[in-house]
Amino acid sequence: MGVIAETTQENRTPAAVGAAIRRTDMRARGEPALWVLGGALALGIAMIAGFLALVAWNGILTFIPKPIDVVTQADGTVTAGEPFREELFRPDAEVLEALTPEWRARIAAADGYTSRTLYRTGNFDLYGEDFRWIPDFTVTKRERPANVLFIERLEWGPFVGSIKSATIDGAERQIASLDDPAFVAAHRMSRQRWAQANDIEKDEIGAINHKLEAARLDLRGVELDSGRDSTDYRQAQARVEADAAVQRGNYDKLAVQVEDLRRLNAANTVTFVAVGGEEKTEEMAHLVRFYPANDLSFGGKIAVYFSRWAEFLGDEPREANTEGGVLPAIFGTAAMTLLMVIAVAPFGVMTALYLREYAKQGRLVSIVRISVNNLAGVPSIVYGVFGLGFFAYTLGGSIDALFYPERLPNPTFGTGGLLWSALTLALLTVPVVIVATEEALAAVPRSMREGSLACGASKWQTIRNIVLPRAMPGIMTGIILAMARGAGEVAPLMLVGVVKLAPELPVDGLFPFVHLERSFMHLGFHIYDVGFQSRNAEAGKPMVFVTTMLLISLIFVMNVVAIVIRNRLRRKFAGSQF
């Protein structure tokens, strides 16, 4: 309500109010319409609140260890699994036929509906499925035995069952409890060796491969420059071959090391047994985490919960992205957004400075201004199309032809990559920065500029020392908003360089350290990929919720910062908006 209406009401005496209202026509107050308007606002708020609650609820609860039900069905099948969700369904007539009369009566009373539960059974390698629906009417017994373990493995998804025996350093032994010190130590040791072997493969062997590849490209470069028959080429060939021999020697040494570690690990195994009696032997190194789901203390639950979070934030994905962590995606999102800011901030500010401080204010500039404003509304996919056609194919193709002829026909910059994604998003967000900066520049009072100029400062000095500092909060707002928009965009990235699984991070220890041509992973695309492209959307859903929560909180934090800065700015220069 407007300020004026409020004060008038307050100034009325109670009697006057009564008299005034009594004489007012009901229609004039428009109460029903008012409620509908209020209902619209309430609905809007309910939508956003419901949405956030849904994401937060699922995101926060996903990592809490759930109990495991062992369900015995009427036909004798025993199933163990986490109850995932329940739903009502209408069983077929044939199914109903086979039921006991009291169940039939119960279902008939419920209008033909009855409930069933989806259990996450795990053991994909044994059952060929991750989930199983169990209708309530088939259940004869449902219990939660203490000895059932939930085991997260590197492959095949989780395993639900109990430990039968373990082999430590080749010697079989019984495990009394999970706290058995020999077992705990062996598991820790195995995991360490596994990590070490992975590191060697990834870093050191990766570096050797990188060197070999670089040498091959060198040779190809010489070949392109001076031909295959030249002395240069023969010299280079000899050099490369000598070098390659050394590298291969190194490689063999490392390979032996990895082999050793693997062999040691192969001696540490655990044999599990599922509720149905099927046995499965796993290397300890492949067990990420296990816990007795029904016998977990509160502290234990908390520990599992946080260890899952730690894995999520700090590890690489596994199981086709449906498990493990999202570190590469976080890294990719951050790297791309940073690179985008580096591109967008100076150019956006420069353009705004030009439009506001340098260009002659006329019809043309106002048309340009309107157009720039509208570019913020052009669909992001259009920028993606442009990025692919212009940056990747045209610009990248030329760069490849000029600088990387030895790698052709494999494209280097001639395909999607980090740089092109960042530039595409920079183009997408530059209107945001321009508009915000212009607004901030316009908010700097003219008198301050004039004062500065009158004191003898040059135009640039005025801008640098007087205008920019005062406009800085506004500019920052624009840049943060641009970052928030950029971090949440997925559609253009699908065209210019984001991938499901990037083998290498865009930044690593190999020269030139920052690999702008590499494709990368992105949180937003991760959501799309896991939710829509994975083998088992159901198994990936919890993961998607957590990723969603992460992405939303990232963007919200940025937005809130921007809004806070904007409000502070508005207060500082009150009355100068619009």
Binding site: A28, L34, L37, A40, L41, F51, L54, G377, L495
Partner: protein, 872 residues
């Protein structure tokens, strides 16, 4: 500004001051540098941003210009008998022709140099009938003694190392060499490509009675590698058409091959038939016998033993005779060029009214631009629906059947053309004229299938019952023709936008008016940023929630959702009328936040009521099963129609009673105390509600009687990922935009207008609706336009939740394929510079232009509004 005056008199004895008065050089340099950098950077960014449109357009343009002649040449070749056929090899170096004596003539296209080529040894017999497959590899010769022979003409390329290349090659041009028999082309310093000719001739087979000449022939190969079959069709001089099939079996043990032949006669062929050509389709299930006059006898040969004359039709009425006839790739489309210059394309379609044996009928699908002279030769492409026709006047035209355009018009000479051949990669043409000239063109026809008409208009694709608007860019088979009409995609975009806006506009505007006019500014300071947060939700998240959470929920509770459309507004109205019963002191004291919380509660409560009423509602309105009901097979549509017309009837009724008796009613109520007046108002509302219910049911009955049924229109078969879900999800993206901008506009209406209105005794409601809203109207309108722009371009939501089926129907329960989603899905797979790639760029350009236009329009209106608001 930088030039600070230094002439000022400095006091004596203070030389330092003098120095400091001079502008330092560095300051000037830096100032100039900053000036230039900012100018160049600023203008550069503006140019770059506008460059997007230019770049997109530049990629799109070749779709419409495309074809060009890169070079042409002509050479004199040795005269000989008229060629039966001509082919060009894949690399466009050799043109090979076969004449009626079985001799093979080959010449190097670029220079006209003749090569020595092996000949078909026909044993001195004269060829009386000849035919070939589309690629020119398999040939059939029919002889005047009633025998026939099959042959193969292999013009192939192989890559060899330089070491294997024979010495003393003769240089032909920059890249090509010859040893007199083959063409050698240097492709790299170490390797050469050899294009050479080989022939193979099969055994003689007697099909017609000995001594009766075969006048026309066609054949197809089929079967498996182990058991090859050959299907022949021949017509002999006695006018007998014979259909034969040979099947060869190799005995695994002995290795002996046995060939069996079955034969049958084509019925109904007149004895004096003058066969111009015989054509057989790929699976040998159709045979066309074409008479010179244009009469076509179409046989259904699915049963080899008993072929059936399905249809006889004269495709060239009048005097005209057939000049050239042939299949296009896929062997469904038949091209007929007449002596009157006409070129038409026919294909077989199933027609209900067909008076033919098999229910199919030959239909003239494409009428192409006619030649000025009789058509004498044609050749079809092996990759698409491109073909060339040549006329007696020496003109060679490159045409495309589906797009009906003449892509290129080439004029050879004035001499009549004997044969014309199109290179396998559609990049060259060689025409041999009767006077022994060979004319060759290097052409580039990258996108013959697209014209403005094919992209935006109806196109008659092969096998389609009628011209249609279709988007189907890829499929499994080679003969598949991409169908690239943007209309279904634009329609999809519009459909998503319309349904999203139908949902978003009322909520966003209602919320904006309420926030701006009816809540305390402290509440507003909380509510507005909350709604704005909604705008920053990444659309991939919205899409994910919509598709994986919302879509199954909506599917389960669809009836409850429709129920909510009625129950929630009704509940809010009821709440309002009950609120009116409150004594004014209470109503005033709790009119702010508490009332809003009450509204919120009412909303949630009515939501639950709707949820609970869902099954009951489904029984009454959708005959117990909405999904079955919506297909139109189950239940009646009257209740749903009544529900659709109800709001309008209610409004009309409410307005009319207001106009007729409202004034008097108001007067009476004004004298009474508030609670009583409120009760009376409540009574009136309920009465109107009931009356409107009855009236709308009657109206619905009437509508159904005159044949209006919403089913088949806005409601039809239910699929899980549908427009309703997209509309909801898109609401999240669009509502905050419309809300923020229109709230800003409402808020920017000058305070004094509000004060004046309230001061004159208007209520808040009257002020808001009759003063503030009209003043801010243009701003509100522009808010809607900006929201529309966002909905048009939204990508991830439609990719994930819309099902991506390119349909042309308004059904709210079916999916759609939007321009943006189509780009996101197909562009990563599109080959650079292919037709699909350029079409997707065109889609992007269309989106760009649509949103840019909408936004500019909105911006202009908003600027005008600002100016007006400032003047008030």
């Amino acid at each position: 500004m930088a030039d600070v005056e230094t002439k000022g008199e400095a006091p004596q004895g203070m030389p330092r001051q003098r120095r400091s008065m001079k502008t330092a050089r560095s300051v000037i340099v830096i100032d100039k540098a900053a000036d230039w950098i900012i100018r160049i950077g600023g203008i550069g960014v503006i140019v770059a941003v506008f460059g997007i449109m230019v770049f997109l357009a530049q990629v799109v343009v070749p779709l419409f210009t495309g074809a060009s002649v890169e070079s042409s040449s002509s050479a004199k070749i040795a005269p000989g008998p008229r060629a039966l056929m001509e082919v060009i090899d894949e690399y466009k170096v050799l043109s090979t022709s076969v004449d009626a004596t079985g001799k093979v003539h080959a010449f190097h296209i670029a220079t006209g140099t003749e090569l020595e080529a092996p000949a078909f040894d026909l044993g001195g017999k004269d060829v009386s009938a000849f035919n070939r497959t589309l690629n020119g590899r398999d040939l059939a010769f029919g002889f005047s003694d009633g025998t026939l022979r099959l042959g193969m003409l292999k013009v192939g390329g192989a890559v060899v190392d330089n070491a294997q290349v024979p010495q003393n090659l003769k240089r032909l041009n920059d890249t090509d060499f010859t040893d007199g028999q083959a063409i050698y082309t240097a492709i790299s310093p170490e390797q050469m490509r050899v294009v050479s000719i080989a022939v193979e001739l099969g055994e003689e087979t007697q099909t017609a009675p000995a001594g009766t000449a075969i006048v026309a022939i066609d054949y197809r190969l089929g079967g498996t590698v182990e058991r090859p079959t050959r299907s022949f069709i021949t017509v002999d001089a006695a006018g007998i058409g014979r259909l034969s099939r040979t099947e060869s079996r190799t005995n695994m043990l002995t290795g002996a091959t046995t060939t069996t032949m079955t034969s049958s006669e084509l019925p109904g062929l007149p004895a004096d038939v003058h066969v111009h050509a015989l054509l057989m389709t790929n699976n040998a299930d159709q045979v066309y016998v074409a008479e010179e006059t244009g009469n076509i006898y179409r046989y259904d040969t699915r049963s080899f033993a008993k072929p059936d004359l399905a249809e006889t039709v004269d495709l060239l009425p009048g005097e005209a005779t057939i000049g050239a006839i042939g299949f296009l790739i896929g062997e469904q489309s038949l091209v007929i060029g007449g002596s009157d210059g006409s070129v038409n394309v026919y294909f077989r379609l199933q027609r209900a009214d067909a008076k033919t044996g098999d229910g199919y009928q030959l239909v003239r699908a494409h009428t192409l631009e006619p030649h000025a002279n009789p058509v004498v030769a044609m050749d079809a492409s092996q990759r698409g629906k491109l073909f060339v026709t040549a006329d007696a006047g020496g003109d060679v035209w490159v045409r495309h059947s589906t797009s009906e355009q003449v892509v290129l018009k080439l004029a050879a000479t004035d001499a009549e053309i004997d044969t014309v051949a199109l290179a396998p990669r559609e990049n060259g043409i060689v025409a041999i004229t009767g006077d022994g000239q060979a004319h060759a063109w290097n052409i580039s026809v990258p996108h013959p299938e697209t014209t403005l008409r094919t992209i935006f208009g109806k196109v008659w694709y092969e096998g389609y019952p009628e011209p249609d608007l279709t988007w189907q860019s890829s499929s499994g088979t080679d003969a598949f023709e991409p169908k690239l009409s943007l209309v279904p995609l634009i329609f999809g975009t519009l459909k998503a936008t319309v349904y999203a806006l139908l949902f978003a506009i009322p909520i966003a505007l209602g919320a904006a008016i309420y926030t701006s006019e009816f809540v305390h500014h402290r509440v507003r300071a909380v509510v507005k940023p909350t709604m704005e947060l909604m705008a920053s939700l990444p659309s991939v998240v919205l899409g994910f929630i919509a598709a994986l959470i919302l879509a199954p929920l909506v599917e389960t509770w669809i009836a409850a959702i429709f129920c909510a459309f009625i129950v929630v507004p009704a509940g809010l109205f009821a709440g309002a009328y009950l609120w009116q019963l409150l004594p004014s002191t209470i109503a005033l004291r709790y009119g702010g936040l508490p009332k809003f919380i009450l509204i919120f509660t009412a909303l949630i409560a009515t939501g639950f009521v709707a949820f609970a009423l869902g099954p009951w509602f489904e029984r009454i309105f959708f005959a117990g099963d909405l999904k079955a009901w919506s297909t139109g097979s189950h239940g009646e549509s009257t209740p749903f129609t009544a529900m659709l017309v109800f709001p309008f009837v209610f409004l009309a009724l409410f307005m009319s009673t207001q106009g007729l008796v409202g004034e008097r009613f108001g007067h009476i109520l004004r004298g009474e105390n508030r609670t009583l007046a409120g009760l009376a108002d409540l009574g009136r509302w309920i009465a109107t509600l009931i009356a409107a219910g009855v009236l709308s049911y009657l109206a619905a009955l009437a509508l159904v009687v005159i044949g209006m049924d919403p089913r088949g229109g806005i409601v039809d078969t239910y699929v899980q990922r549908n427009t309703l879900v997209v509309g909801f999800a898109m609401g999240f993206a669009v509502i905050p935009i419309i809300y923020t901008i229109s709230e800003d506009a409402l808020n920017a209406v000058p305070e004094h207008l509000r004060a004046a209105s309230l001061g004159c005794g208007a209520t808040d409601w009257q002020t808001a609706i009759f003063v503030i809203l009209p003043t801010a109207m243009s701003g509100v309108f522009s808010a809607i336009m900006v929201g529309m722009g966002r909905a048009v371009g939204e990508t991830m939501i439609v990719v994930m939740a819309a099902g991506n089926t390119p349909l042309l129907e308004w059904n709210i329960f079916s999916g759609l394929r939007a321009l943006s989603a189509n780009i996101a899905v197909e562009l990563p797979e599109a080959v650079r510079d292919s037709t699909l790639y350029r079409m997707l760029f065109l889609a992007a350009l269309t989106l760009f232009v649509m949103t840019f236009a909408v936004n500019t329009f909105a911006e202009v209106i908003r600027q005008r509004f600002r100016k007006r608001a400032a003047q008030l």
